[in-house]
Amino acid sequence: MISVQDYNNAVKEHTRSIFRFLYKSLRDREATNDLVQDCYLKLWQNREKINPEKIKPWLFSVAHNAMLDYLTSSSRKVQLDEDFQAPPVFQKNDFDAKAILERTLNELPPLQKSILLLRDMEGYEYREIGEILGLTEAQVKVYLFRARQKVKDYIKELAHVI
């Protein structure tokens, strides 16, 4: 059972993380806002059943599923055009390594991407990621290995041409 105070604290403490997690996957600010609101709506609706100490993993779990549903329902791949079509920084001969990583992250399957983001951005352990996404610790490790390997291979390929 979570109180109104617990809920509001969760809004203040976790909204930024949930938004970042979803936005990194969707690259669409409007859709991300909608999904974050859905997540908190579900939190409020299920407040009787949720352990106050596990609000954050619960929110990430809901966010991941919402993101999968969104991608399935919209049946589209994430478009990067809005943010990544030859940004002015490149034209000024100043480079942004983040743009490269964004691009490689975008090529990952949603589950691998979620694992990578939960690990790198939120610092979760394998076991915690497994609890959030419904996987075993070993599966999380293998998925994370594959995700990093793909990102590494993309960057390596780029390194060979420049």
């Binding site: 930024r16 974050v36 983040k98 951005m121 075993t136 994370l144 995700a147 990093r148």
Partner: protein, 249 residues
């Protein structure tokens, strides 16, 4: 289809580096890998790529979103009552406090040290003597200008601001060139010709030299050749620089 750890070869460099960047290796494995890294440039490059596979956290402004998500909470009046009383008390104290005498502070330069010790800075057992001394070296006095006379006591504050030449070749005698004199070149008809005994050829001398001596002679000849070229250079007959031999380089 869920993957298992057996999908990846436990001994592959990729998995090893992955576990290294994830911090999953034990101390002995880390030590072993770092020893390999020190000597293997390709592995170091590979590690650098692995390290680039980490996503970096970014900050986004979500203040507006948070505001829209917060659930309004009913006011807690007990706290507000206490705050109201504090407010009234503060207001009362502010409105009815006694009006103090207006003081004006003007800087006045006084040559230090002040000859007359300030009344307030008399060194007593109760006060720190150092503090009293420093306070006595003051340059500013506060005067109550409402009264146009000097005060009986002075309040003093502390001023804080204070040619190589070729050697002869051994074993070889130089022989003049065999140039026939004009007389010798005349037709020999009717003239008694005295037969000249031919001199021994230098080849006979060379036969007596060892291979080592032969090489020494060759080096000396080369040295002499180079010296001649150097002499030519000094006379300005060749380019300013000594170029590398373009046949070999």
């Amino acid at each position: 289809m869920k993957p298992t750890t057996s999908d990846a070869d436990e001994n592959s460099p990729d998995l090893l580096l992955f576990r290294y960047v994830e911090g999953d290796l034990d101390a002995a494995q880390v030590q072993e890998l770092e020893a390999r890294l020190a000597s293997d440039a390709a592995l170091r490059d590979e590690l650098a790529f692995w390290k680039e596979s980490f996503a970096e956290p970014e900050a986004y402004d979500t203040a507006h979103l948070e505001k829209s998500l917060l659930v309004p909470v009913e006011p807690r009046w007990t706290g507000s009552y206490f705050g109201t009383w504090i407010f009234i008390l503060t207001l009362t104290v502010t409105l009815f406090r006694p009006v103090p005498v207006a003081m004006e502070t003007r800087p006045v330069l006084i040559p230090a040290p002040v000859s007359t010790p300030a009344v307030a800075d008399v060194v007593t057992e109760a006060r720190n003597p150092e503090e009293a001394i420093t306070r006595s070296r003051m340059t500013r006095i506060t005067l109550p200008f409402r009264e146009k006379r000097l005060p009986e006591t002075i309040e003093v504050e502390r001023n804080v601001n204070e040619s190589i030449i070729p050697a002869p070749i051994p074993g070889i005698k130089s022989r003049p060139p065999e140039v026939l004199s004009p007389v010798a070149q005349l037709p020999l008809t009717g003239i008694k010709v005295q037969k000249v005994k031919p001199k021994p050829k230098p080849i006979a001398v060379a036969r007596t030299l060892s291979r080592r001596q032969g090489r020494a002679i060759m080096r000396m000849k080369e040295k002499a050749r180079q010296q001649r070229k150097a002499d030519q250079f000094l006379k300005g007959n060749v380019p300013y620089v000594v170029p590398l031999n373009s046949e070999n380089f």
